[in-house]
């Protein structure tokens, strides 16, 4: 029995589903597969005449060759450039002229492209995505659009990471955390490796990974399975599988941390120190039972204002401005379980560290109450009901899970399963992750010398 919770990239979406009022049968997602191997999922939502059309590819930054970090993401940008039948920069023009919004995103595990349009435009969107799945043209002019897009990605990296001392520190920590694993390098890639990527790298990547049998179509919105089947067979059906898509991903279990480490980053932009600790967590794909119990346990421990750590460190001891715990459980492979906090002025990171860990030890010794575990379970399950309000997040939710290899049935089972986690299971999962025998990485974000 598998259980699941999902996210796209680093954004945690909580999961779908059920309370006393289950979704009406008419809105139950369904799935079928085209003859060329392309999987299709339909998520009905008839509130407005709008659809979200997504194509997910089973390829991400984890699949990059050594020295080619950032190619999955840069290539995603290049997919908007030009095809055999669509002129340079015309792809976006056609979609927007059709009243559509569009974008794409890349994670370690998958790459997804989407358009949101009036339902009358769905066929046209399929035509466009099918075209760039097989007919992309990559301009190899050394001063041409591939090169300027590379510069854009370098600016994107500066904007997302290098302007932000907290993001820089996290990059260092994750690099250490996933040392030797395909997640080691951040999705956008290392600056010098991105700067060296060539049009040929893009073309090689395209040929290897972009084909119908390596793709999943998700359509959410005001459509029926039959509507989608007819259109998908017309537009995607004729595409020939290349047979080249990788048969195996580079996914592998994440090794336990070899040693405990402290990583610090000082920056003149930092005006408020931040303390974090990263332990090896788990993932819903690798260990669904533990992941489910860990989600519940971390909710009790550090999930919000009512959590144990917040009440102790912020409210009672007044040592912290905030304190929280969370785990990256929705990647394919194991991610970190993190405790982080911001001290009040006058409290050092070392003092906060000691107080937090002493409190965790106390909580783990005393156990969780039934009431707080029930509250945590219900909160996780209810998030799923609220998620139904967003067509995009439903499409993301299904797409990301399917790209990791879960089935519709497994996705649907989550809310019922989260309600069955016992206080003992939640406690055991937290103990297993934060146990005294485990190595961890501590990170200190600090002001520049002399700025304190």
């Amino acid at each position: 029995m598998k259980r699941i919770l999902v996210a796209a990239g680093l954004l945690a979406f909580a999961v779908a589903g059920a309370s006393a009022e289950a979704a009406p049968a008419a809105n139950t997602p369904s799935s079928f597969t085209l003859d060329n191997g392309m999987q299709v999922v339909v998520v009905p939502d008839h509130r407005a005449p709008v659809v979200t059309h997504m194509v997910w590819y089973r390829v991400g930054a984890a699949d990059e060759a050594p020295g080619k970090s950032g190619i999955a993401h840069l290539f995603e940008h290049v997919m908007f450039k030009q095809t055999k039948n669509i002129g340079p920069e015309e792809f976006t023009s056609i979609v927007q002229r059709s009243g559509g919004q569009l974008n794409a995103f890349t994670s370690w595990d998958y790459t997804a492209y989407f358009e949101r349009v009036h339902k009358d435009q769905l066929g046209k969107m399929m035509e466009l995505e099918a075209e760039r799945m097989v007919n992309l043209i990559i301009n190899d002019d050394p001063k041409g659009p591939f090169i300027s897009e590379r510069d854009v990605v370098k600016e994107e990296r500066r904007q997302r990471i290098e302007n932000n001392p907290g993001a820089l520190l996290q990059e260092m920590v994750l690099n250490e955390f996933w040392k030797g694993h395909p997640y080691e390098i951040t999705v956008i890639g290392l600056m010098d490796e991105v700067a060296a990527l060539t049009p040929q790298d893009g073309l090689d990547f395209y040929r290897e990974y972009y084909s119908p049998e390596n793709a999943i179509l998700v359509v959410a919105g005001d459509v029926t399975e039959e509507d989608v089947r007819v259109l998908a067979e017309e537009h995607y059906g004729p595409l020939q599988p290349t047979g080249q898509a990788h048969s195996g991903r580079k996914w592998q279990p994440v090794a336990p941390l070899a040693e405990t480490k402290l990583i610090t980053h000082s920056d003149p932009k930092v005006r408020q120190p931040v303390w974090s600790r990263y332990y090896l967590g788990t993932s819903f794909k690798r260990d669904p039972e533990t992941a489910l119990a860990l989600e519940v346990g971390l909710e009790v421990l550090g999930g919000g204002m009512t959590s144990r750590l917040y009440q102790s460190l912020v409210e009672e001891q007044k040592l912290a401005i905030n304190i929280a715990t969370f785990a990256w459980t929705t990647l394919h492979d194991e991610g970190p379980a993190v405790i982080y906090g911001t001290p009040v002025s006058g409290v050092s990171l070392e003092a906060l560290d000691a107080a937090v860990m002493a409190e965790i030890e106390k909580i783990l010794a005393g156990g969780f109450t039934e009431a707080e575990v029930v509250r945590a379970r219900n909160k996780l399950a209810a998030t799923a009901i609220y998620q139904q309000d967003s067509q995009s997040s439903m499409a993301n939710h299904y797409g990301a899970n399917l790209a990791l290899g879960f089935t519709l049935e497994e996705i649907a089972a989550y809310p019922d399963e989260v309600r069955q986690v016992t206080p003992e299971q939640a406690l055991a999962a937290v103990r297993a992750v934060f146990g005294a025998d485990k190595n961890y990485i501590t990170s200190h974000l600090l002001p520049a010398e002399g700025d304190l």
Partner: protein, 463 residues
Amino acid sequence: MLKLRLFSGAAAALLIAACAGTPAPQASLDAAQATPALAVDFYDGDFVDIQQFTTPGGVSVWLVTEPSIPIVSVQMAWRGGSVADPDGLEGLGQAVVYGMNEGAGDLDSLAFQTAMEDLNMSFGCSNGTEWTSCSATMLSENAASSMALVASALTAPRYDEGPFQRFLREQEVSLKTRETSAGYLAWRAQSQALYPDHPFAREVTPESLAALTPELARSHMRALMRKDGLLVTAVGNISPEDLAPLIDNAVAALPETSDLPPVTPVALPQTAAADPVIVPLPQPQSLVRFIGPAMDRANPDYFPAYVLNYTFGGGGFESRLMKTLRVEKGLTYGVSSSIDPNPSFTVWSGGGQTKNESAGDFITGIREEMQKFIEGGVTEAELSDAKAYLIGSYPLGFDSNAKIASNIMSVRQDDLGVDYFDRRNALIEAVTLEDVNRAAATYLAPGRYSFFVVGEPKGLTAE
């Protein structure tokens, strides 16, 4: 199309506000005395059907009933935001809204937060520059109990010393971290350069925080949140007759009216300084922001300018700013522009981030694009593409309860009328090439725009 429908009113029992840390009591909706029928104006729109009614307690409500998901959201808004903080008490409005889910009636902070979790609901308030708003989202099966908790917050917020001191500790951190926030520094530079004496330029300071007290928050809460002018919208799985008594109970204890100072509009200079203002910040990129005077919705140039903005910087990859500065030159990950027609502060503004070495090229590029609009205008094809997107994509703003709730509240706040959504596309369609090019000539003159740069830009002459 307006239709008048009469719903027989279900009556409300007086809801019990306090929940004492346990799951709130399910308030009874049918333990009723007779109440008058609720008169509901049913507006049957192309994008959304809106039910307008005035509750027996006198509150004007717009409701969109959406039965397909078992959730309900309720929004309330009052004119009067941080601009209404008394001089020397900057941050008071923030203290008011911070305390709104930090304990009420018999429930202290932890008990109130726990009650919300038990109901799987959320409730919170915010203090914008000119508006104060509260928002509650709940499961429809818990609507009565959830709104009873909202009622207790609006009736008897505690403003206990503990959460109040926590608010101050959090604010102290904000005062420190804002000093290295590029966006905040750009805003401050803009305020100080363009409208230094206007209330919109005021900032929270250590001194103003030190002057705040729970008692001041308690009384300012009743100045911001009153029955007079209260706007309520709701979306979800609930009927007018079930909602009306919940709203009435929630706002029953608010004062009828209050005295808040009127806001004088900001008058931006029609001619800007030639050189950018530079704010040093040690980081690899420079944030560039430009801002100039625009127009409000009553101005006949508004819709032409709105359509023009798509081609200028509002249309993503279809905008000339993106085509030139990102796609052609690779100078930025993103550059954009927008118009704010808020009568108190009508501005056309935009910007983006670029490496420090190219900050000068980036600013030059923006000014050159503005100049091209003055000289050559937009093409028929660009105008037609802009209209096609702006009209064709409009339904995308109505595909979730959350978006509908936000849209109908905006229409109420801007007083655009219940039929606005259905009129809006025709207003865009009617814009001509002459209109757009007239707006370009008037509003996009580069000399109207002040530039602000935060970072370590190379080779720029500063103001």
